[in-house]
Structure formats: structure tokens, C-alpha cells
């Protein structure tokens, strides 16, 4: 009998092993990344002027100089800010709307069954192709970009959110019924968390798509923004400017995705390691 009682009353296991292995691995991989990127840039700089015509492909040093100038005279922020603003505002509007509708559809399943296909069909519409129309409606400012970012996010995020909310385990919903959970408690405390892995991957999917859509609108018609910076540099045959703007675009979208992954790591810390 003492054995039975002693069995579960052990102290929680310390997580040895991982604590020892982490620090070394934690430094090694970033160091390798730095070496890799430095090697690529170095090779590029070396090749430029020798094997590559700098008029066709700008060298890293000229790109760096151009980015430095832009940083100094406000060109960089002046064009980065409108793109970021349109992207983030549009993304939030699209994601919130998509989540709200997904909640409504899970709450009233017949509604979901009826309208789901319309929303999925909306996702097949290439919204950037509507650019001329949107510009006639909203002008050249932020608005058409926000609308396109919101629509793109909405379609891509909706599919994830709706699937995630619907996939909630019947056992957990049964628990909610046994415990007399209210409708809001059911959505907020059971379905929302249960859908979390789908929601984070929905953000990871829709954010780059929305960024792409904003840039394309800026290509087509605008006088500000990273997309505008890319096309105007291209039109002036300004290779360092063109490459610089593209590099900034890559860094910014990857930076945003990095923040999303950080948030995801926290939000999904409850999942077993092997599923993350």
C-alpha cells in the first residue's frame, strides 16, 4: 500500500539535458548564419566589376551607400512607412473580420455551410487585378492598398480560422456542455485556444501574401512606398536603388514573420516539442 501511495507523489522531473545542450547550439547556428551571409556578400562584391557588369547587377558596396543615403535623407522611412502602414492596417482588418465570420459560422453551422463556398471562391479572385478599379474608387493614397491587403488577408486567414475552430475536439465541447459553459466561454476558452495552431499558421500564410499584394499595387499606381521605390529606381536604371529597395523589402517581411514566429512560440508553448 505504501508503494501505491508513494508512486505518484514523486517530485516533478527536472529537465536536464536540454539545459546543457541549449547554450552551445544556441550560439553555433546564428554564427553559421552570419558566416554564410558574409560569404555570399563577399563573393558578390568580389565578382562585381570582374565577372558581373555593375550596370546590370549592383555591387553590395554601392547598394550599402545608396541605402545609407536614403536613410539619411528620409527616403527610406518615407517609403517604408506607407507600405508598412497599409500592410498592417489591412492585415488587422482582414484577420479580425475573417475570425469574426469564422466564429459566427461555427456558432451557426447552417450559415457556415451556406456561405463557406462563396468566401472560398472570393479567395480565387486576383485582387491586384482590381487595382485600376480600386484606384478609381479610392485614389492613389493608402486606401486602395489597405483594401487589397485586407481582402487578401481575409480570404487566406478565413480558411485557417474556420477549419481550426471546427476541428475542436468533440470531447472538449462535451466538457463545455457538462460545465454549462456559456456561448462566449465556449468560443473564447475552448474553441479559440483549440484553433490556435491554425490561427498562427494562418497569420504566417496571409501576412506575406498581403505584403505581396500591397507591393504590387504600389508597382501599378502610387507615388510612395517600397513598391514605388522599386519601380521608380528601375525606370531610372538605378541598379543600387533597385537592389537596395528589394533587400529592404525582404528584410522587413522576414522581420515581421520572425515576430510572428516568436509570438507563436509563446502561444503554442503547451504543445509537445515534437509537434512544434
Amino acid at each position: 500500500m505504501t508503494l501505491l501511495q508513494a508512486g505518484p507523489a514523486v517530485t516533478p522531473p527536472a529537465r536536464a539535458g536540454t539545459a546543457l545542450a541549449r547554450p552551445r547550439r544556441g550560439l553555433l547556428v546564428p554564427a553559421l548564419h552570419v558566416v554564410f551571409v558574409a560569404a555570399i556578400v563577399g563573393l558578390w562584391q568580389l565578382a562585381s566589376g570582374r565577372w558581373i557588369d555593375p550596370l546590370l547587377v549592383a555591387s553590395p558596396s554601392t547598394i550599402a551607400t545608396r541605402l545609407g543615403d536614403w536613410l539619411g535623407d528620409g527616403t527610406l522611412w518615407g517609403n517604408l512607412e506607407p507600405t508598412l502602414e497599409a500592410l498592417l492596417v489591412g492585415f488587422v482588418i482582414g484577420a479580425v473580420l475573417a475570425f469574426a465570420i469564422a466564429v459566427l459560422f461555427t456558432d451557426v453551422p447552417p450559415l457556415g455551410r451556406f456561405f463557406e463556398n462563396y468566401i472560398l471562391a472570393l479567395g480565387a479572385v486576383p485582387f491586384v487585378a482590381l487595382a485600376p478599379l480600386l484606384i478609381i474608387w479610392f485614389g492613389l493614397g493608402l486606401e486602395p492598398k489597405i483594401v487589397v491587403a485586407a481582402l487578401t488577408t481575409f480570404c487566406s486567414f478565413f480558411a485557417n480560422a474556420y477549419t481550426g475552430l471546427r476541428e475542436t475536439s468533440p470531447q472538449l465541447l462535451e466538457l463545455g456542455r457538462i460545465l454549462h459553459a456559456t456561448r462566449w466561454q465556449r468560443h473564447l476558452k475552448i474553441r479559440f485556444w483549440s484553433a490556435m495552431p491554425y490561427l498562427t499558421s494562418g497569420v504566417k500564410q496571409s501576412l506575406p501574401r498581403a505584403a505581396f499584394a500591397v507591393i504590387v499595387i504600389e508597382f501599378l499606381a502610387s507615388n510612395k512606398g517600397l513598391g514605388y521605390l522599386i519601380t521608380s529606381s528601375g525606370n531610372n536604371l538605378d541598379m543600387p536603388g533597385l537592389f537596395g529597395a528589394v533587400i529592404v523589402l525582404v528584410i522587413v517581411t522576414q522581420g515581421l514573420l520572425y515576430l510572428v514566429r516568436l509570438a507563436e512560440k509563446r502561444l503554442l508553448s503547451w504543445q509537445p516539442q515534437e509537434r512544434r
Binding site: 501505491l4 505518484p8 516533478p12 456559456t182 476558452k189 475552448i190
Partner: protein, 302 residues
Amino acid sequence: MTMQRETRADDVDEQGSAHTVASPAGAAGQVAAAGIEHVYHSDRGAVTALARTDLVVEPGEFVALVGPSGSGKTTLLNIIAGLLTPAAGTVSISTVPTSTVPIGSGPAGSGTARGSAARGSAAGRPVVGYMTQHDSLLPWRRALANVAFPLELAGVPRPQRLERAAALLERVELAGFGGHFPHQLSGGMRQRVSLARALICRPPVLLLDEPFGALDGVTRLALHKVLTGICNDLGTTVLLVTHDLAEAVSLSDRVLALAPRPGRVVREYPVPRPGGPREVRDIYSEPELIALHNQLRASLFG
């Protein structure tokens, strides 16, 4: 306070339960099911899961339901839990007369809770604890927050519900594991957490659907002891569905044998039992219990 009402399948609330919660003084935790029938409809036609069944479980009684699969054990339990609406019949569960008092202000958690008064009423409070073989722990909550979950839904303030959850975790011998996520716990530990969660609102009735079915023998015995101990203290009425006849005999006061096609209660076996607090009994050391076990086996599988 009495809220007896007749309910039939065509007269059910939003939750889909044909449930009555009544509170005649002194009869806390009585379960009465009358004329219950249930039919499952599928593509291949209707299957009678449960033919007309009556069942009364007295307050504080421990009743086991045994029978082969298809005999309607789980169906009956789910109807009593309010998860299924029977095709016919009524279920009534009497609650403690003080059930209008907010859950948060029981003996363990004194002090009145703001906000809990509104939702802690007889209507908002779960009157049954429910536990199945597949633990339905919320995987994103640590053990402590899982145990406290029912209190959270009922609006009990955070410090109070965490205090009570911690005390109950200790009671199921999981002190020190409150910070673990379900996937970091063994199957037996998860069932301990589930048991604690099922009991945290001190429900007058505990419904168990093969809760120990997936556990090894040693773990199962340990959980039997935890279960009987807590139910003795709280005076909980227990309905246990099990396929393990030894478990049924060693734990319960009465065993109901069910048979399939259609599912129904075919016989009732009182378990000879000395007075005093209930204990997990070693059926192999008591000839009466061995005899009962054999009799059950013969009637069910003979």
C-alpha cells in the same frame, strides 16, 4: 426549493437536456431516471440503444453499471449527464438545498465572491461531475488551470479557484505537478487531474464512464483509493460504467447488469458490505465477493 418538471424530447432547452434539477431538503444527490428510452438513427435504420429503463440511485450510493458493449451503459450515463436527449423519459437529479449559494463560498473558499453570485446559481452550476476514459483535459492549460477550469466558468475569482484547485491536486496526490501541461503527464496522472476537475465544484453526483479502463493495474488501484476517499468525504453519489467486473464489485454498493439488443437493465446485484466508510475491497479475500463476481460473470458472459 423544488424545480421538478416533466420533460420530454420535444420540450428541451437549448442545451438539449431533458433534465430536472430538484432540491428537496435532505435528498442531495439522488438520481432518478424514469421511463428512459433511446434510439440512434443512422443510414441503416434505427437502433434501440436503450429500451424503457428506470433507475434510482440514492444519495451517497455507489452504483456500477456493467454489461457487454451495445448494452446502453454509456448511453444511459450520457442521458443522465444531460449530454443526450432521450427519446422518452425523464431524469431528475436532486441537488444540495444550499446550491443557490455561490460555489466560491463553500467551506474551503470563504468570503463572498463578486460576480460568482450571478452565475453560481442552481442553473449555472454543474450538478454532475463527469469523467471518461479519454481524458478531456484542455491541452493548452497546465494541470492546476485545468482543475480550476469549472470554477473559472462559474465566475469564481482567480485566487480562490487556484487555492481550491491546488488543494484538490494535493488530494489526488499530484502536489507539485500543477505547472505541468497534460502532455507532460502520464496517463494515470492525467486521470487524477480529470478526477480533480470533475470534483472541484463538489457536484452531488459523479458520473464515470470507464475512467480507469486504459490504466495499468497498480495505477488503477491507487486511483480507486483516491476516488473512494474523496467520495466518502463529500458524500458524493457515484454512477460508474465499467467492463471490469472486479472493479464493479470492489467499489460499489450495487451492481446493475445490462444486456444488449435492446439495451436494458436485466438484473440488479446488491454487494454485501459492512457498515462504516466505504473502502476499496479486495474481492479475492472475501468469499461473498468472489461468489458475486462469478455470478456476474456467468450472467453476462455465460
